[in-house]
């Protein structure tokens, strides 16, 4: 699995950093920052939840 984020689509809602703090962070403008690109286990589960909750649909978790 891998994770892509579209920073130009991000609206800084912060859902991702809240539900998956080990995978996502936000810069000073609130825009998503990826902390790891190939999370596993609980981090992957959390990242998938973040993908679903993202209001801008800026996160994609893909099968590799």
């Amino acid at each position: 699995m891998g994770i892509d984020v579209k920073r130009d689509a991000c609206v800084g809602a912060g859902q991702c950093a809240l539900v998956a703090p080990d995978v996502f962070d936000q810069d000073d403008d609130g825009i998503v920052m990826l902390l790891q690109t190939d999370p596993e286990g609980a981090d992957l589960t959390a990242a998938t939840k973040a993908e679903r909750l993202c209001p801008a649909r800026a996160i994609t978790v893909t099968a590799r």
Partner: protein, 397 residues
């Protein structure tokens, strides 16, 4: 032989799309039919009043899925398909493309802007076409009147200033509102508009309007005439429930649902069109925020796919006005002034409207019910969010 179970989702905006997607992810292997009355593939609406209006994005960038992602989902999308009626007992939805039987129906038809009776020439904003027309209008306009003091009025006034048009924002109630925050940020928001050159008139009573070759003359009750070359009216939205009027569902400013989004056996509703029972008041109420549509859709899909009972999500709302990022999470009592998280005595006159702040709404027992980030550092706002009680004691009547 029995046929595979079929879920029909009426409405192909974010609520409907999220429901369809979540059903698949949770292992629902029956048929999913997604009906949309627009001709487009599903797209996100928030960028319409933001990136699309500012000309930063092309329409394609607002799509919810790439074509490849959509194919992978295995959802039958019917575009330009309008729902016209519902037989709850017989589990059949009537559409412009024929009758469709279902096992579970998800109503996600959203809301539509109210038209201003005296401003038939006014542009409004709901669809992609509306946004493109508005963007083109703003590009050539010298003086714009935005009628409506809600969040969309503020966002469109912000876009008009970015297009360098003289901008007049007209309201009636004397205050500016922001989603579930109500009028609590009105003063701060008014200063923000004024700092960015928006002319505010929040007690404007429009008594008439006339369009001519030189633009539109808006006549106000105090005798003033405002001549503008573009009028935009954003005076609220009504849930799109007309197609359900002859059904047995309870409609009262939206489809009335229980706390888990169920409206009748086999019928659920999510998003702007849905009035779930509010955990605080015990009354059905609509929440017109996109994140609410997403979370309600996830809750309903989990119930259908796995029998898990969902609950009303915590409202989360965001906006950007003149470059200032505003986030609100939780519930806001209009009777209680906001307090700064740091313990400062609230908003002070003279404070710059772009200053960063985290503002809290507290209840009788001093518990935090809502948090607002106003240009706030993301970490500070997240910390405030965590303080919002996620499982309030629920009203049981």
């Amino acid at each position: 032989m029995t046929r595979a179970p079929r879920v029909v989702v009426v409405g192909a905006s974010i609520g409907g799309v999220t429901a369809a997607e979540t059903l698949r992810r949770e292992g629902f292997d029956g048929e999913i039919v997604l009906l949309g009355d627009e001709r487009h593939r599903p797209y996100l609406r928030p960028p319409l009043s933001k990136q699309i209006l500012l000309g930063e994005w092309e329409p394609d960038q607002a799509s919810t899925h790439t074509v490849a992602q959509a194919e992978e989902l295995d959802v039958e999308l019917r575009t330009s398909c309008t729902a016209r009626g519902l037989d709850v007992a017989g589990r059949v939805v009537r559409t412009s493309q024929g009758d469709l039987a279902y096992d579970e129906l998800i109503v996600a038809t959203g809301s539509e802007p109210r038209r201003h009776p005296l401003l038939p020439m006014a542009l409004t904003l709901r669809t992609l076409e509306d946004a493109l027309a508005l963007r083109d209008g703003l590009r050539s306009a010298h003086r714009v009147a935005v009628v409506g003091a809600g969040v969309l009025g503020s966002e469109i006034a912000s876009a008009a200033r970015k297009h360098e048009a003289d901008t007049l924002l007209l309201g009636r109630s004397g205050t500016l509102t922001l989603g579930g925050v109500g009028t609590l940020l009105s003063d701060r928001l008014a200063r923000l508009h004024e700092d960015h050159g928006v002319e505010l008139d929040l007690r404007a009573e429009i008594v008439g309007a006339e369009s001519g070759l030189d633009g539109t003359r808006i006549e106000l009750a105090d005798g003033r005439i405002e001549l503008v070359d573009l009028v935009v009216a954003m005076i609220g939205a009504t849930p799109r429930t007309r197609w359900l009027d002859s059904s047995t569902l309870t409609i009262a400013d939206g489809v009335v649902c229980d706390r888990g989004g169920s409206a009748a056996p086999g019928v659920s509703a999510v998003g702007d069109v849905a009035a779930w029972v509010d955990p605080f008041t015990g009354r059905p109420s609509r929440v017109e925020h996109q994140s609410n549509a997403i979370e309600q859709a996830i809750a309903v899909a989990l119930r259908i796919a796995r029998g898990e009972l969902g609950t009303q999500p915590v409202p989360l709302f965001w906006s950007e006005v003149h470059g200032t990022r505003i986030h609100a999470y939780g519930w806001f009592d209009p009777e209680r002034p906001l307090v700064e998280a740091a313990g400062d005595p609230g908003i002070q006159s003279g404070t710059s409207a772009t200053d960063s702040a985290v503002l809290l709404s507290r209840d009788d027992t001093d518990r935090v019910r809502g948090a607002i980030g106003w240009n706030a550092p993301p970490r500070d706002f997240r910390a405030a969010r965590a303080a919002v009680l996620r499982t309030p004691e629920l009203i049981t009547h």
